[in-house]
Symmetry: C2
Subunit: 441 residues, 2 copies
């Protein structure tokens, strides 16, 4: 264990944790330092698996995963005090939260150059992991899993491939999981149009336009269709989903700040419907160029931001004084980021061929990375179905549906949005338990 | 005002109402007596509109509408005390709750013969209305609207046509509204299959089966397809929706009693997918004949049932001692009921031709009468669209979407289930206000 990083006291914490925690920096390359926060398992740290958690964006911080989703404690609305999370994932696992890439949250690089891309992030994360195991060599033998959410749908498999095939780092790597991940830009955009219509967001007129302009003999291309009429119709559809004031991360939850406060094309969306950016000129006539708004839209992160930016909290977490204020997402990292993988199909195929286990889970009311796109993605991997598509239960209620395809599972979490552990904590914990123990859901 | 029926005291009521209420019986035919409960408006009873509220089933009681949905007070979980409903519809309207037909709730007929059908119910309701206006002649001049929910999708327009064209009854009839109504059995069943797949309830295998067996050149018939393979696939789909333990009335709400306590084909569903009953023999191989369960499934009505069955409550409501206990739905009425209208398209067309106003609204997470079937129904009326399909707001949040087609509006309530005023009280009240005042939503 690396003593200097140990967190021995936290402002606002009135309970005594039955686990240890460390916060500090991992070297991710020359002059590049990734902030990590590591919590040991509340059960049996020696035997329980080790889990890496990565939020997406690109440009958003994994501390949101810690403080709002599956961490051992969350921040009260006062922005000053903490409360325990009954369904914390560290009840059964050692969890490493990593702020990645440099420029995100409290991670930085000496040269402040924050342009990066998918392969670079995977390489940097891989080096950060090596740095972690140098600090915590005791955890080399624990079963190891990599979890990514949202744009972590790219991070998790690309990093997993390096861990599984890399030379220097020796771990007991077992598999990876992706929550509401972007797995294929084409499938994500294509499925979103269906999702929108069948959830009542579009009228018949727009649906007719979409079908007449984007489809041929029943086969539709809503993704990179070059027909101008299609680009216009899809632009309209996407504007309703992303700019009308709906909570794109959880259709049935309110939009923090109200529907009218939001209504701008979001930079986080650049990476989702980037094919349509090229068509904006064409669609000027029906809406005009998009402007930037809050990132992420409709989500209120004030409390965790206030807490993380307190001087005493930064000190307790060993954050250098010279670093700027923590923000949930970095606009700069997001804007400068270059996507290299339009789909991670090949990456998954390699990982599955290596015998690794994978879980693709989706809160089914999310529209940023909707469940259907990921369902199609998993099915198109061509793995043989080894179970029917079936319900799973939590607390004697249907918590969602899942299907097993050999070593990979596709699973939905009913009624949950983009941040599954935040909005369905009990079911997600059950899901985690089943996945880690390789038992039925 | 009819004095003997006035409700002057109610057990469990600790607040003083600023409205008057009556409970008693309306004559609906020879020896047929429908129980009504009438509450005046909290605003201006003389000028405010009069609204008739009908729950569906067939066989379910409109007192569920009163005590769980839009009435001035609801029953606490103790089954003994009452609390005020902030969004009661009688804040702006005089509301008449009618238990219909005979055999439902506290309504009865002397001969206890409870077989009936759509036309008979409309005739009986029409006579009950005449009986109401005889007791309450003061309300003849108020604007009058008929609201129906669920199977009330048949009751409301068929009764409206009698009111609009009948001779004896003189009212200031303005229009009708239908909430999550059954408007066309074909469209309801057809749309439900799409709804299920695009909400993540079916896997790709079943979706492929459905498409391969029920569709030809992209045109699908999931409703009364005679192909055996299609009947089997649709049967599987409907079993997942209605029998797997999901709350069919509100997909994202829990099923009261748990998913395992329910799982039987429900009698309330007889009238929804009756075409498939004929195919049950064929599909024995994949599931067996359905059995009966709780009606309505997943809904907990214990509190209101306990309260309504108290001796002192019955007495306060002027219920004869000889009547049996009140139940939320009558299995007998449901089982003996004969549907005559596979669609109420003609009825709507006649009503719209008479210049009446109509509102078809749907909580968009209901699967008993899903929004898409009603959206298609309204569009197929062929009225010219007079507004785009657009969002509407409540409390600065998107509360749903709507489109105007001349005198008829189709409107969704986002995230609400079958019982819209129960699960989205604020938005429903706003909707009611806009509809009654004929203003934008």
């Amino acid at each position: 264990m690396y003593d200097p990083d140990e967190v021995v006291h936290l402002p606002g914490m009135s309970f005594k944790p039955n686990y240890r925690q460390w916060s500090g920096y991992l070297k991710a390359g020359a002059g590049k330092f990734f902030h990590y926060w590591f919590v040991t398992s509340q059960r049996d740290p020696l035997k329980d698996p080790l889990l890496l958690w990565l939020n997406g964006g690109p440009g958003c911080s994994s501390l949101d995963g810690f403080l709002s989703e599956n961490g051992p404690f969350h921040v009260n609305n006062d922005g000053a005090t903490l409360y325990e999370n009954e369904f914390s994932w560290n009840k059964i696992a050692n969890v490493l939260y990593l702020e990645s890439p440099a420029g995100v949250g409290y991670s930085y690089s000496d040269d402040k150059q924050y342009a990066t891309n998918d392969d670079q992030v995977a390489d940097d994360n891989y080096r950060a992991l090596q740095s972690f195991f140098l600090k915590f060599p005791n955890f080399t033998q624990n079963e190891f899993y990599i979890f990514g959410e949202s744009y972590g749908g790219i991070y998790a498999p690309t990093l997993s491939l390096r861990v599984a095939t890399g030379g220097a780092l020796k771990t007991n790597f077992k598999g990876f999981a992706v929550g509401n991940g972007i797995s294929s830009f084409a499938l994500n955009d294509q499925s979103l149009v269906y999702f929108g219509y069948y959830h009542g967001l579009f009228g018949e007129d727009l649906w007719r336009d979409l079908n007449e302009n984007c489809c041929d003999k029943g086969v539709c291309n809503f993704y990179n269709n070059t027909a101008e009429g299609c680009a216009i119709a899809v632009g309209q559809a996407f504007r309703i989903v992303y700019e009308s004031g709906l909570n794109e991360y959880a259709l049935y939850l309110d939009c923090a700040g109200g529907a009218r406060s939001q209504g701008a094309y979001q930079r986080t969306m650049f990476h989702l419907y980037r094919n349509y950016r090229e068509h904006w000129k064409k669609v000027q006539s029906v809406g005009g160029a998009p402007s930037l708004g809050e990132v992420p839209p409709c989500i209120n992160s004030t409390a965790q931001m206030n807490w993380l930016n307190r001087g005493d909290v930064r000190k307790a977490l060993h954050i250098p004084d010279i670093l700027p204020a923590w923000d949930i997402c970095s606009d700069e990292v997001g804007a400068l980021y270059r996507t290299l993988y339009p789909t991670v199909k090949d990456v998954y195929e390699k990982l599955l061929a290596l015998g690794l286990r994978a879980l693709v889970y989706n809160g089914d009311t999310d529209m940023a990375c909707n469940f259907l796109g990921d369902q199609w993605f998993v099915e198109q991997l061509g793995q043989k179905a080894t179970s029917p598509y079936q319900r799973w239960l939590f607390d004697d209620q249907i918590a969602g549906f899942y299907q097993q395809f050999g070593n990979i599972t596709f699973l939905t979490v009913k009624g949950a949005g983009h941040m599954v552990p935040q909005w369905a904590p009990g079911p997600s914990f059950h899901m985690l338990q089943s996945f880690l123990s390789n038992k039925p859901y």
